[in-house]
């Protein structure tokens, strides 16, 4: 059978995008190869490690087990979309640096996108809820505690609880 392609129109990080994609491509393939969004990491490629996590229509998905053709009509957000117009880091990215939640960095974009989805809910989560929301990721360096702290501090700061954030 000859190669099969499909035109995919979607919004990526706020910009309208259109691309002919091979039907065999995963969304990771499309985002990395066609759009050079290399924050989307190829880790396990079977949906276990969360390194390829992106936000699609407000929910987190492992883009490695998501067919690129399914992105048609969707709104996709990757880590690159969190930064400001001149590349200024967002609060959650800065918090990962401040809390040393990054060591080798391979799992970081995926973790930050799960954190972004949690923060977008705009409410306070319990420690258990935060751990659960972040449980679809593997980090082999940090031991997770610094990641947890970065997420919790940012959540509290966004809710105007500066003092509580300092005590985390």
């Amino acid at each position: 059978m000859s190669r099969q392609y499909k035109l995919v129109s979607c919004t990526i990080n706020g910009k309208q995008a259109e691309k002919m994609v091979d039907v065999r491509a995963s969304l990771t393939d499309m985002l990395r190869d066609d759009f050079r969004l290399t924050s989307v990491k190829k880790g396990c490629e079977v949906g276990e490690c969360g390194a390829c996590n992106v936000i699609i229509d407000g929910e987190c998905f492992n883009s490695c087990i998501y067919l690129a053709i399914w992105a048609d009509g969707k709104e996709i957000l990757t880590l690159e979309g969190l930064a400001g117009p001149d590349g200024e880091l967002s609060d959650i990215q800065q918090a990962f640096i401040d809390e040393t939640a990054v060591q080798c960095g391979f799992c970081t974009p995926g973790f930050i996108m799960s954190a972004a989805a949690l923060l977008n809910a705009g409410r306070e989560f319990t420690d258990d809820e935060i751990r659960r929301q972040m449980s679809g990721h593997l980090c082999r360096c940090t031991g997770y505690e610094n990641i947890f702290r970065a997420v919790k501090k940012t959540m509290l700061r966004r809710l105007g609880k500066e003092k509580e954030a300092e005590e985390v």
Binding site: V46, G47, F61, N62, Y66, M134, H137
Partner: protein
């Protein structure tokens, strides 16, 4: 790139049936969290796929004209958990599917995929068995419905005929009216793990909460397919709500289950766990019904 021979995208349920009839060797792909992994592993490499992921008509939870809860087969686990109808009538199903994989998996995984796999460890399956769920299938001959225990034929094999796809999972009103349930997943990790055993219990008490009017219990990984423990159900029926009933109920499951040894857990461990889970899930289901077994949890 995935090793996919060809991919056909269905635009409606009728179109899906047509595509499946035209391509009898094709595999249905819903959310893909199993199918794509199997392609990656090589088990389904070179597959022809019919994608039904775009069929929004198969998403969502509703109450049908008979008051039954109808779950579209493409409804994701996270949407089931958050759904107000599920929370109101079958809370335990929302809790059970909230134990599948991790957050991202629960956003892509569908209840239809979870049941069409025919896998005994599926977190939705034991609860659907315990609530006498009905599977709706749509094919070239139209729609047919069958009880979930008839849908599962053997490990990995379900009664999905040529050209058919599963379109809904239905929980009849008489299955849930007056019942409360509890599901326990026994696994090594809190996330991204497959159940070594899953146990789902639901009970209905008499109006004064003193007796068990009916108790139902189903297991995942207690046999090649999810199964009910009918001896235990019979043993508890009509008995007083008490610690003794709880013990009798839990011990009786051993007459029904037939777990095996696997690298995840031995047969002996599974038999032990089955009794403990039955006891704990029964107590919690009774508590949710407003009843109280005399002593506190072991």
């Amino acid at each position: 790139m995935y090793d996919i021979k060809a991919l056909y995208e269905a635009e409606s349920i009728e179109h899906a049936v047509q595509l499946l009839t035209e391509h009898p060797g094709a595999q249905i792909i819903a959310g893909g969290s199993d199918v794509l992994v199997q392609i990656r592993e090589g088990r389904r490499a070179g597959a022809e796929l019919v994608s039904i992921y775009g069929l929004d008509e198969m998403r969502g939870v509703s109450l049908d004209e008979e008051g039954a809860v109808r779950i579209g087969s493409l409804t994701s686990f996270s949407h089931i958990t958050r759904d107000p109808i599920i929370q109101k009538y079958i809370r335990v199903l929302g809790e059970a599917v909230d134990m599948v994989g991790g957050p991202q998996i629960r956003n892509i995984g569908t209840i239809g995929g979870n049941t069409c796999n025919g896998v005994t460890s599926a977190d939705s399956a034991s609860t659907l068995f315990a609530w006498d769920a009905v599977i709706e299938l749509t094919g070239p001959e139209g729609v047919r419905r069958l009880p979930i225990h008839e849908f599962y034929i053997k490990a990995g094999v379900v009664d999905l005929r040529p050209g058919e796809l599963q379109t809904a999972v239905i929980i009849p009103r008489k299955s849930f009216a007056g019942y409360q349930g509890h599901y326990i997943k026994y696994a090594m990790r809190e996330a991204m793990d497959i159940a070594a055993m899953g146990c789902s219990v639901n009970v209905k008490l008499t109006p004064d909460k003193s007796r068990v009017e009916e108790a139902r219990i189903a297991y995942g990984v207690a046999g090649p397919v999810p199964m009910r423990a009918h001896s235990a159900e019979q043993a508890a029926k009509g008995r007083a709500v008490s610690e003794e009933t709880c013990r009798i109920f839990a011990q009786a499951v051993l007459e029904d289950i037939r777990p095996r040894d696997s690298w995840r857990a031995s047969r002996a461990l599974r038999e032990h766990i089955a009794v403990v889970l039955a006891e704990r899930a029964f107590k919690e289901a009774v508590r949710r019904c407003g009843g109280e077994t005399d002593e506190q949890t072991v």
